[in-house]
Subunit: 426 residues, 2 copies
């Protein structure tokens, strides 16, 4: 996937230090957070390198980054324990020495005093900092940040503890960068879509995409199972805000059955908002999703305003006993069929006494598929006071994905029903 | 943090391609997963580099990695859209050309046929692969993996979609690496626990931990919401397997109500195994978890053997209409009470006609708490043919966490019941 941050004047490499990142014990959320903050702030993140707490590796990574980019931001390796060697490496690289910083020592003493905890010798050492750097005070812990400059490039070293790193970045680093490089933030806006793959989406909105690209906006396709986010970006800050909003509304109008919101909102929030606005209640009757559809609906705080309850009719017996699906129909049509999901929705609506009822029955896999109904076959029914419809899908992924996509698809069908948007379905 | 994987003979650099990773829109879970799999398999992960979908950047990263490490694993940039340029870059670097691979083309056609979806020209292009590579078949999507060799180093290129990447790695890449380099992994064994925090756990198993550490084993506490994994490791490969197994059994016997498995298994799998073995069926009656408990139970393939169905009684009306909780009791005791969860479990068991029924009612938040019953208050009921018990918890996290922990706690209570293990609860 390719984004359009290449016109940003300022470029950065992020270096993360720590074996726990390399062996996957800790996920590198620091780099993601910094990547997001920096790119939204108008700095182009060109590279991110993760290395171990090993002197040669750190030196090589710093040297390569300082030679390639005007800005390098490094996190980790500043703890009080012996395996954290970043400060020594930085002293060698910038040809300087550790000296005790009085102000920092006072702050560390104060930090422990306030918490009523004893100060260890190793904490004392955290006040020793490279003479040539600008110290970046840490209001959240004991490891200071450092700002170095050499041959026209800047290197910032921050601790690896996420909230300390974030605090120093926001309070000490970003304001300096902004002032020094007159950064002009990027304006982003996202349209969320469900039910259409990346390539089909690209075909459908091709002309619109060409138009906005010609106007200098960037567009990114960000797929996840069952949905694709479309993100439009502008390097003109909020200057084009109204224009972008209008373009986004155009986009939504092009694909009304897929685009479910402007802005990063979940489908269950969108559906919840519509139900609340229309003063309607909803219930669920689930087979293959086994409660995950109702679970998704209630993930929204306050969902008890419109969600009353649901039935999980996992076995065929339950489909008969809880929602009166006749055994003959189950035998003739199978549990994954138009007739059955319609009965599940229709009868579920009266049993649960809700305005709307959604039903799902499918073959999630890995077992249970046939030539006729392969794994991934899903029927979704929706019953309202006026109509009862059923929709057929073939997802065909693995069990987890099939369940996840079924849930999103059911919510999007409900959204379309609530809005009167025509549903594209064979 | 510093680990001890430096004695591993085989070293790897991971390269992740994608602007969405650099700008923090997607967290690089692929690198974490690969890092974990590789290091558990006996490969030392020395570096991880994230770069943009830009030709020069990809070429430079490949070249630097191939010159430094015997193995390079790359993910991303293999999608069908124009911004994915990895294949072209690989052709230039390995001095080869794209040729259409008949076998892959058949697989892609088959992939779309099975899903009843039309194939686009861009999907056709995915069958064009570099002539000089060994193609790694993808059983989960349309982008093949590729295996190259040059000057004694190996480069493996995999798609960025996580489940496709994982599938190809496990089926095609790791078996080849294992055979070729006679990898001698670190022996790891994990005990899964639920219901006890890290520090309490450390107190309870202190003596045991000292003993195994004295014998040269490592122990890691890996916490996640509601559970802690304890991972014991040995650098002696499988040599101490029996001894470690015995130690792990000792550990489980120390904390039987918390430790639910030796080995990385989910609670729903453990519970499912017990139900199947004991030939018992289970049903659920959920309020605050809204279907997420049944959803977790059915996440296990084949769960229809023991899970029949459930009721989501989200509103008070549903508690009365679906499981006959008298309105007076709801009014007097409140929906989050011992009496109500006991009735939900007891009556649910007869309505669903199952051997066991679990019920959950709680205040997930953010609204609905009181001095008496703060947010995070949860009651869980279990009814069997012999007894009906209720258990009280105060989790007190945020909504999402409260729901998640309630689900895990309910499953662990069911496990204890099935095993006759005494439950530690006020």
């Amino acid at each position: 996937m390719r984004l359009d941050s290449y016109f940003y004047p300022m470029q950065v490499e992020i270096i993360s230090i720590g074996d726990e990142l390399l062996i996957g014990q800790t996920i590198n959320t620091n780099a993601s957070w910094l990547g997001s903050e920096l790119s939204l702030g108008g700095v182009s993140v060109r590279k991110c390198t993760v290395i171990a707490d090993v002197k040669d590796h750190i030196t090589a990574a710093i040297d390569s980054a300082m030679k390639s980019f005007p800005l390098v931001i490094m996190t980790g390796g500043l703890g009080p324990t012996k395996d954290d060697i970043t400060k020594d490496v930085l002293c060698s690289y910038f040809d300087t020495e550790l000296v005790e910083n009085e102000q920092v020592l006072e702050r560390i003493k104060d930090y422990f005093e306030k918490r009523g905890r004893p100060m260890l010798e190793s904490n004392n050492l955290q006040a020793s900092l490279p003479e040539k750097c600008t110290v970046l005070f840490n209001n959240y812990g004991t490891a200071s940040g450092m700002w170095f400059e050499k041959n026209g490039s800047i290197l910032v070293s921050l601790p690896g503890v996420p909230y300390e790193m974030k605090g120093i970045f926001l309070e000490e680093v970003f304001p300096r960068l902004k002032e020094r490089f007159s950064l002009n933030g990027i304006y982003h806006i996202t349209v969320m879509t469900q039910g259409i793959g990346e390539s089909f989406l690209a075909e459908k909105i091709g002309a619109w995409e060409d138009k906005i690209r010609a106007e200098g906006f960037g567009l990114a396709y960000l797929p996840s199972p069952g949905s694709v986010r479309l993100r439009l970006s502008s390097d003109q800050g909020e200057r084009n805000k109204d224009k972008i909003q209008a373009y986004m509304e155009e986009l939504v109008a092009l694909i009304p059955s897929y685009a479910y919101s402007i802005g990063e909102v979940s489908l269950s929030e969108v559906v919840g908002g519509l139900l609340r606005k229309q003063k309607l209640t909803v219930g669920t009757v689930e087979s293959c999703t086994g409660g995950k559809l109702s679970g998704e609906i209630i993930s929204v705080p306050g969902s008890s305003d419109y969600f009353l309850g649901g039935l999980v009719t996992y076995s065929n017996d339950m489909k008969s006993s809880l929602v009166d699906v006749p055994v003959e129909i189950l035998n003739e049509q199978g549990a994954v069929s138009k007739e059955v999901v319609k009965l599940m929705a229709e009868n579920g609506r009266s049993k649960l006494n809700t305005d709307i009822c959604i039903s799902v029955s499918g073959i999630s896999g890995p077992e249970g598929g046939s030539d006729d109904k392969p794994v991934g076959t899903v029927w979704i029914g929706i019953s309202t006071s006026e109509v009862c419809d059923a929709y057929h899908f073939t997802f065909g992924g693995n069990r987890e994905r099939n369940i996840q996509i079924s849930v999103l698809t059911a919510l999007n069908l409900l959204r379309c029903k609530l809005l009167g948007v025509e549903i594209e379905n064979k």
